[in-house]
């Protein structure tokens, strides 16, 4: 840097410091300044020196960047990410003041948002992957002078229901799920989410609660049963999937929903008769044997339904099964369906609208077809597909915020936990006017949390989104690469094992939540595993070539010895039998000899059978794996009951202990490891990124479009060696944060089996925590277990966990204005011994959850309106007192 530049830089720096000190900064405040005001000086002072006109660093010149426009928007986006994440200016340069950096970052977002408004919008800052772009230390530490926070709130909005929510909601109309059984708390029960099937597809099945006989196996059963796939979709498959503003419902989906609605209404009216012949409904399948001849596999006529009516009998049933149509019965059906689909009673206007539609349809088509068509329209009501939080009926407070109330508040609380409609108590609270205050919310949240019979699938959904342990069954494995791991590559065995593993991990999380002590730490360090039979392989150890040969030799030796012993026994018994037979020839009536002979012959038969069975068993032994002996109490996992055919997704599990020193916590379980792998190998980068973002709270900018992100294809090289390409200067800036955190997991292969060697050599499991933001965490680690142990003890990981919970339950990224909410939630968690429940009560009674600000723009979710007359700082924020 030249002396002149230094001097200029120093002078500008001093000017900025003085400006910064004299100004206050309010996060999210609308940036009224133009390029000259918010950016020019910043760029000149902190960027141009390296990114100037000649020989710019990274081949990026910013000297003529100019105001944000369509042409330079991508560059501005990159500048925004680098500056916000404090990657730039580099460590050896003078850093900008905190407020300078924040204003610059806000300014870019504001300009990009305005510019891109009619071009698809700029929403990168709203993506959950960018949640960590907000400085962790500012959220949980002391704020510099000059930063003034506003009382927080979330924008008024509508949430599109999630696929899981939608299918579970529809399932309520046609199937009766079992009530909660306290003796078997793990079994899937009413209120749990409808699970994916054996192939990982989310579907609504009709009449599975009445099917008592079918032909064929899983596939035949699944084909015979009436089913419809989820119509709504989620495009994201890693991280938080469902912010309210991610999705809409398009025309193809709406059309399909209308078709599904007709099927559902007919089933509500007639049960299995709507999808089967009358003779198929009997409690004695043998009585219709003559109708069930031949190969009926895959046909709906292969099913037999019991006569016991178990589906909910509703006003829709009454309407369709009573003669004629009365307005009263039709309205009852309309109102029932409306509430079942939107979770609230219809207004008079809504009831009248749908009554009128149904009446007109009946007039045109007659009762049955007309009622089916007319009632189907309710499935497309806005509130059946979107959940509104519009806060239109409350009065704005001093800060322009309106607290949710009545049905909107009741449903927000309900949605925090459940996919089915609010229970009687919550509905009563709403209708009695007792869902209007913070205390009301606390009462209901605490009640729901304390009652295990109220199923809370949204909590499990959070953990699936947070950990991403449910993706293993969707990762297509190369058959040879899979076989090399020691896992079975036959048919769909591995994929089904992975869906089972996700259900097992769900259940393990439930056990930890039940204790509600040091929840995150337990999740990361537990020595427990919920296991199926398959897990003796998946939690086993991949044998080295030597060990494999040794195992085969030992096995052969054992088999040989056993065969020799068997042969000796057989020879001895054969001789004895021969003698007895000779004896009987002499004296055929000798009863005692007859009995002895029969006994000997039976023994001989048994020995031969045992020998054959043992030979077969040994032939099936997987010598690639030293299986682990998992044993423990029998429990259940929350898969479906018999919905998908014989032997598929069985709920039986055991609660076992993992091999010490080889496994510790969810991140070392195959469900998580495989979810973070690819077709051929481990995905150390993705694993490292998970640790960096979800535990350490770091942010990673998007991969520049100029990067060809490919590792070399070298089958004889280890993954670690192939990842040498990420050590190029251009890549390493980001990859140093991820790769050394992912490589310790090389102690497992890509099917999740423990291993000591890789490609015949001792596997290198070393790694390092670099620039974590918590200096005490930084340093080298020898393997994943050591790394996890270290991080699990840290307060920072807890705080990052709270940040992710905030995003999930608030449906948006946090801003600096949310600092008090996050701090309170973390305090609640910590002061209650690491209690998830305490954290949830804190979050769900926070202003961010309760308050909405109408007509906020997406850029300034918590932006103040200028109406706010009083501002509070992080340390003194006590807002919404009027509602306590």
């Amino acid at each position: 840097m030249s002396i002149v530049r230094c001097a200029l830089s120093f002078a500008l720096g001093c000017w900025f410091i003085s400006v910064a000190c004299s100004e206050t900064y309010t996060p999210g405040q609308t940036v009224d300044e133009d390029f000259d005001g918010f950016a020019k000086a910043f760029l000149a002072d902190h960027c141009i020196d390296c990114h100037g006109e000649t020989a710019p660093e990274g081949d990026l010149s910013l000297h003529d960047l100019g105001p944000v426009d369509e042409i330079n928007a991508a560059t501005w986006r990159s500048v925004w990410a680098q500056v916000t994440l404090k990657e730039m200016p580099p460590e050896d340069a003078e850093p900008p003041q905190v407020i300078q950096r924040l204003r610059f970052s806000d300014g870019i977002v504001d300009k990009l948002t305005r510019l891109m408004r009619d071009k698809g919008g700029f929403r990168a800052n709203l993506d959950p992957d960018k949640g960590n772009f907000v400085d962790h230390d500012l959220l949980f530490g002391r704020l510099p002078d000059g930063i003034r926070l506003q009382p927080t709130s979330s924008p008024a909005r509508i949430w599109r229901v999630t696929p899981q929510e939608h299918i579970t909601r529809l399932n309520e109309l046609i199937n009766t799920e079992s009530p909660f059984d306290r003796k078997k708390p793990g079994l899937r029960t009413h209120g749990d989410v409808v699970p994916t099937n054996h192939g990982g597809e989310l579907k609504l099945y009709f009449g599975t609660d009445r099917i008592i006989k079918w032909q064929g196996g899983t596939v035949a059963y699944a084909t015979s049963v009436k089913s419809v796939p989820a119509v709504l979709s989620s495009a994201r498959n890693h991280g938080l999937e469902n912010y309210p503003d991610f999705y809409t419902v398009n025309s193809a989906e709406a059309t399909q929903i209308l078709g599904i609605a007709a099927d559902i209404i007919r089933y509500m009216a007639d049960g299995p008769l709507s999808i089967a012949q009358p003779y198929q409904i009997t409690d004695d399948p043998n009585s219709i044997a003559d109708r069930m001849k031949g190969d009926l596999r895959g046909l709906p006529t292969s099913l037999v339904y019991s006569t016991r009516v178990v589906r909910p009998l509703t006003p829709v049933h009454d309407l369709m099964n009573n003669d004629g149509v009365t307005d009263q019965r039709l309205r009852a059906a309309v109102d029932y369906l409306f509430e079942a689909l939107t979770f609230r009673p219809p207004s008079k206007v809504e009831s009248n609208e749908y009554l009128s539609i149904a009446q007109q349809s009946i007039e045109k088509l007659g009762k049955t077809d007309g009622a089916v068509l007319g009632l189907s329209s309710i499935f497309l009501d806005r509130d059946a597909l979107f959940r509104p939080e519009l806060a239109q009926s409350g009065k704005p407070d001093l800060h322009g915020r309106v607290m949710l109330q009545d049905w909107e508040l009741g449903m927000a609380v309900n949605h925090a936990f459940r996919y089915i409609r609010p229970d009687q108590t919550l509905r009563g609270a709403v209708t009695d006017g007792r869902m209007r205050t913070r205390a009301d919310v606390r009462r209901e949240v605490e009640r729901i949390l304390s009652d295990d019979s109220i199923r809370k699938p949204r909590i499990l959904r959070f953990f699936r989104d947070y950990f991403d342990y449910d993706l293993g069954g969707y990762i297509c494995k190369d058959l040879k690469a899979l076989a090399d791991t020691g896992a079975s590559n036959r048919g769909q065995a591995h994929y089904r094992a992975m869906f089972d593993a996700a259900a097992s991990t769900d259940r393990l999380i439930e056990f930890i939540l039940q204790d509600d002590k040091d929840v995150l730490k337990q999740l990361l360090t537990t020595d427990k595993v919920v296991a199926t039979k398959n897990d003796s392989v998946y939690f086993g150890r991949q044998r080295t070539a030597d060990k494999r040969a040794e195992a085969i030799a030992t096995d052969k030796k054992t088999l040989k010895a056993q065969a020799k012993a068997d042969a000796a026994n057989v020879e001895k018994l054969t001789a004895e039998i021969s003698q007895l037979q000779d004896k009987l020839k002499v004296n055929p009536e000798d009863k005692r000899t007859q009995r002895t002979l029969a006994a000997k012959e039976k023994t001989l038969e048994t020995i031969k059978k045992k020998a054959t069975a043992e030979k077969r068993r040994r032939a099936r032994i997987n010598h690639n794996v030293a299986e682990v002996d998992l044993s423990g109490d029998k429990i259940y996992a929350r898969v479906s009951r018999r919905s998908f055919g014989n032997g598929s997704m069985a709920p039986e599990r055991i609660l076992a202990t993992v091999p010490q020193g080889e496994r510790m916590g969810i991140l070392t379980h195959p469900s998580w490891l495989v979810s973070h792998s690819d077709a051929m190998d481990n995905h150390a980068i993705r694993r490292g990124r998970w640790i960096y973002e979800r535990l350490l709270g770091g942010g990673i900018p998007d991969v520049p479009i100029t990067v060809d992100a490919m590792l070399p294809d070298e089958p004889t090289s280890t993954l670690r060696h192939r990842m040498r390409v990420t050590r190029e200067d251009y890549c390493w800036t980001c990859h140093k944060k991820m790769d050394p955190l992912g490589l310790p997991f090389e102690m497992y292969n890509h099917a999740g089996l423990y291993r000591n060697t890789e490609l015949g050599k001792p596997v290198d499991t070393s790694g390092e925590i670099i620039d974590s933001g918590a200096p005490d965490l930084d340093g080298k680690v020898s393997n994943a277990i050591e790394m996890i142990q270290k991080i699990a003890e840290s307060q920072r990981a807890e705080q990052v966990f709270v940040r992710h919970a905030f995003r999930f339950w608030m449906g948006r990224n946090e801003t600096l204005n949310d600092a008090p909410v996050l701090q309170n939630a973390h305090l609640a968690y910590r002061n209650n011994g690491g209690s998830m429940k305490a954290m949830l009560v804190s979050l769900l009674t926070s202003d961010a959850f309760l308050y909405r600000t109408v007509n906020q723009t997406p850029t300034n979710q918590t932006a103040a309106s200028d109406r706010a007359s009083s501002e509070t700082t992080a340390s003194t924020a006590t807002v919404g007192e009027e509602n306590r």
Binding site: L60, P229, A235, R297, Q360
Partner: protein
Amino acid sequence: MLSRRKMLQGIAASTVAVFGNSMATNRVDASPKKDAAPKRIVFFMQNQGFDPKTCIPSGLRSSGSLAKTRLPEPINALEPYKERLHIINGLHGIHTSPSHSAFFGALGGYRGSDGVPPSASTIDYELSKALPQTLLPHLCIGMDSIENMKTKPTIATLSASGAGQPIFMHSNPNHLYQMLYGGISTGNIRRQHEARSAVMNQVQRLAATKGQSLPTSDQMRYGQYVQGFKEVNGLRDRLDAVADHLRNFAPVVDERYTRPEFETDWHDVLLDLGISALTSGITNTLTIGSGRGEIFGAWKGLGIDQQGHNLGHMDQPDNPIWVKIRQYNSRMLVRIMEKLESVPEGSGTMMDNTLIVYTSNNADKQHTNGANWPVMLLGNLDGAFKTGCFTQLDGKRPINSLYTSLLRAAGQNVDRFNMDDKAAKKFDSGIGPLKEVLV
């Protein structure tokens, strides 16, 4: 150094990324070439596998002309159309896990199996976007046992518009007729059409009313929901507007619709409806799932008493049952060609601008690893494809390469379809389209 030009490219990419989710499923907003000459593609997917011995003329072991050969008995209905036929043997689909059926993977070129949701869009959907625009770009019909078609009149097993976004196929011809030709129908179908139209109009009105009070930030997103109804209602209005034109092509509804004796009655009328959607210009892409992508299906109308899974366990060559099914397929293919030939288009006929892709969602047989995936092409899509020949490949190029060829012929400049470079290293010995099929 990043230039302004590169920046422009960057912004285009980022805009697409921002729109990605909503655009992916928004069919009407897709913008195929509106003014290009019409072209159309038909996919005919027979389940349970397509054994090469049932289509390759005996003695033909290497690539060459079909002119002096005689087609095997199962496909001998195609003999008069040999000069339009291209038999391809030796593609593979081992990455699609096709044993029993690859389901969405057959047209997607990725792993599929029973119950496995689609992991990306399928080729028929992508082509429907790329081909010159029609009123209803993509139509899927599915043929199965009569019981299954009645109980499950729509299912989704073969086509998808994206990851986790299945496209439903129609199996009840009465419903499909109403959808396509409700505006020119009479009697009960007309009443159903009018009632449905009235309901959908009211649903649109209610949806729009409930959108008026939404926050600004949600209005665009919710607006897409309301727009969806406008599209549905608009399509119906557009079909109604060309009712006179459609009358020339709509099949006559007879007893086979309402009182089918066998499932093949419905198969036949579904095919008629599919063909009419092509000839009337309603659609540019037709996907036919015979057996609906699953491992079952029935053809009792052909005198085949056995149904379902056992059919797949039989060897197909010289098997009377499979000869009947394949002959039935072949007659259907002939029917498609004859109908398209009868409609003038440009200086020739519709068939000149059409390609039919006949294969199985199950590769060569029911229990298969997909090492061989035989395909027959009929037609040349306005001269884009070679015809009248047999091509024997070495089993090192995947079905994705054929799909790449289709996209190229539809004007898309792509080198691969649903296969990244990493997977290609393992599953594809080449890059770009199959040079053996394109002219």
